[in-house]
Symmetry: C2
Subunit: 234 residues, 2 copies
Amino acid sequence: MTAAAIVVDAFVFDAYGTLFDVHSVAAAADRLFPGRGEALSRLWRAKQLEYTWLTSLMAGAGDAAAATRPDFATVTAQALDYALAAQGLVLGADGRATLQAAYLALSVFPDVPAALSALAPRPRWILSNGTQAMLAPLVRHAGLEHHLAGVLSVDTVDVYKPSPRVYQLALDRLGIPAARIGFVSSNCWDAIGAKAFGFRVFWINRTGAPVDRHGPPPDHVIGTLADLPPLLRE
Amino acid sequence: MTAAAIVVDAFVFDAYGTLFDVHSVAAAADRLFPGRGEALSRLWRAKQLEYTWLTSLMAGAGDAAAATRPDFATVTAQALDYALAAQGLVLGADGRATLQAAYLALSVFPDVPAALSALAPRPRWILSNGTQAMLAPLVRHAGLEHHLAGVLSVDTVDVYKPSPRVYQLALDRLGIPAARIGFVSSNCWDAIGAKAFGFRVFWINRTGAPVDRHGPPPDHVIGTLADLPPLLRE
């Protein structure tokens, strides 16, 4: 191969699904509802994302008269309520607290720490829909603090991804042109939003899913984060 | 029951899923892919909605520097491409044209014409994500022209539902306060968006789904459109 060299001055990572396995809550859910944990976890996650998009639009993203969107902790709790109802499951306050706490201690994907190390000394950041209050314990629990320059959250804007105003947060903070920022996400819709914004985008397609069709495709498709560092040496 | 009388001066209906059965394309899909039509239709619809939300956000809804969102015909074609790929199905240009044409001739739900008649003489409108070019043949094919005062489309705004700027189209055109407009949708997320905007909302819950949790619940939940006229006489 004689591909042109990839020039990336800094990396920005999505958190949920990319560095952290959102479906690690399935184990906790399965202890509460034996045999039902995985289905509950999948529906919970699907609704959580749907609610970020819907509440962003309902808040009139960007309009002068914008309402306030609910934060990610609220949306996550609402999505859990829906998923429980849709599956006909009843859960008390203790069980809910258990599942919501599991969201603050998600497993890190096994390939993440070594890959983050291999990308040094380039600055590495998180840019996430999560609140700082949700993300800080997550990073700490996974022992990733020393791999990261910092964590950027949508807390400071009234909208969720894939609004360009979210991706702009990284540009503003890093002071590097978008085309020289490597944006890494396992969420195809996030990868496409980031590509439309102008980043160099790496989509981690862990499940062999088809690429989404509603915007420009990611620049690179990799199977795990471990595939990223070798790309930069080609 | 001693419920207070419901005062509605005009009705606004969602089109896809509410008056017209989006899954009537499953029959055409099943002729192309025997036994696979229903699954293809479900995924096609789910992605179509997802792409309306994502492209609205990517277009920076409301931002001064907003990009242009793709129209509903484009989003529908993109969603079909994704659904085919996800199901491992290959379809040529003729087959695609067949399925896209099926979208212009969706079945009307059987309870719709009589219910629309029963709601007269109140003005009855459609407010839809569809383009006028998609909606006109649909209304004509179903023979609903004489039941409707007109069709409002998101063509004139750069965003899809549930942005308040879409619901505002009805307010601007009808010149009636939102609380005296009855908004009818089978799509719970649309019903919730319309309720947040201020309409009196009737959610047609044809499938016994749980209510979504990310915003104010609809005022009324009915099983079919036939349940609506009797509510007004109580």
